[in-house]
Symmetry: none
Subunit: 218 residues, 2 copies
DNA sequence: GTCCGCTCTCAGGTATTTCCCTATGCTCTC
DNA sequence: GAGAGCATAGGGAAATACCTGAGAGCGGAC
């Protein structure tokens, strides 16, 4: 039987160590790689085609939510397990919408992570008890999750959200352009589209928007 | 030479694993015990008399700040190193007041933790670069930290705080100048002073600072 | 299959804003 | 009265905003 190949995406080195250490206690599991940013996670997912990704939400450059969206699109066979400190209903629905199949709170991870990984490997979703209630509620309300969830950032495209995050992290247009390997002009275009869509008129508005919508940490 | 005996206090099992794993790479260091709550940390500090405690801030039952206060009172020989995700000036000064001798951001921990532990073992304080500037300024101003740091934004002058707030609320330099009936040039000067004082390089940084320090609402 | 709409990409040009350095009063302290 | 800190501001260089325009790719509609 082939080993289960796992990619770890978390910006804290200590936490990655802890995860690796825990996962390696399991026979037949293999940590195939590590990623520090969402962008790296996407790249490594492409390169390594892991069976499963353990994904933190808050990461620099690109957050885990956005990374999950992209990975589930380009590599639908890869299972994504979200590890988050946020016990936030909105966020749970967002990550499910993005394509993740599991959500474990970091405070429960020591107890539940192994079970969660096992579950996802058998293509069954997994949620820590606190989370599963929220999820259930979402479905019971009728309609799909997406019907219930119309957050304003859905109006932004993936690329636009990405740019909002980088700007929010303090990068200038020029730095964003370098980070994404695109022209400054392109960044300017995106930026003006974003401003227009959200009806904002200054970078300050944009950044507060990003903080409110958990695209960045204050 | 006796080994350095370390107590780990953090409520996340994965994180404790990571810490233990990292610390055990060092010869002559020994993880004497673990605590999951602040209360446990106090008890274990009494029972084990470790040389050093690595202390998370957010823990259930009793937070790391309160635990630090108690431990520094009952076991003044034990060094406390704070490990926190919060880049918040107020908090830094509170933990120093409480008796901690080091403050490392979790995002920097992988790089700085070993150095921090070494430093504290030689009874030298240690702070990650981002943090050390805040601290340094506090001491350079003379008097105790608490005198100067009733609130972190004391480092900025009244006028500067006013400007940070207006910028944070989404006003442009020009609008701020109109609001305050001063020249745009003056606003620019204030702004660059603020940036310099806080060691920031973009409006994004500034706004996140303002949100963290409750100068504005996100 | 083709067309339409959306997205991402980029360019050029001008107006505007910001950045960086310097400088002048003013007040308070030592 | 010398110096430190603060609020004020100017000049020139750099960056950004704001417009128009446009090609390439992609997915859904018909």
């Amino acid at each position: 039987m082939n080993p289960v190949r796992i990619l770890i995406a978390d910006d804290h080195e200590i936490y990655r160590r802890g995860l690796r250490n825990l996962l390696e206690t399991q026979a037949n599991w293999e940590v195939a790689g590590e990623a520090i940013t969402g962008r790296q996670a996407v790249e490594e997912a492409k390169r390594l085609s892991p069976d499963l990704i353990i994904m933190d939400i808050s990461m620099p450059e690109m957050n885990g939510l956005e990374a999950t969206r992209q990975i589930c699109k380009i590599a639908p066979d890869t299972q994504v397990l979200i590890l988050s400190i946020h016990e936030n209903e909105q966020l749970v629905h967002e990550v499910l919408e993005a394509g993740a199949r599991g959500y474990v709170l970091k405070s429960d991870a020591g107890r539940d992570l192994i079970a969660a990984v096992e579950s996802l490997c058998q293509h069954k979703p997994f949620f820590t008890p606190k989370v599963s209630e929220m999820v259930l509620e979402g479905y019971l309300k009728g309609g799909s999750v997406s019907d219930n969830y119309k957050s304003p950032q859905n109006r932004l495209t993936a690329r636009e959200r990405e740019i909002v995050q980088l700007l929010g992290e303090g990068q200038t247009n020029k730095e964003v352009a370098e980070s994404l390997n695109i022209s400054v002009k392109t960044v300017e275009t995106h930026r003006s589209h974003i401003m227009e869509k959200l009806n904002m008129h200054s970078l300050g508005d944009l950044i507060r928007y990003a903080v409110r919508n958990h695209l960045i940490q204050p």
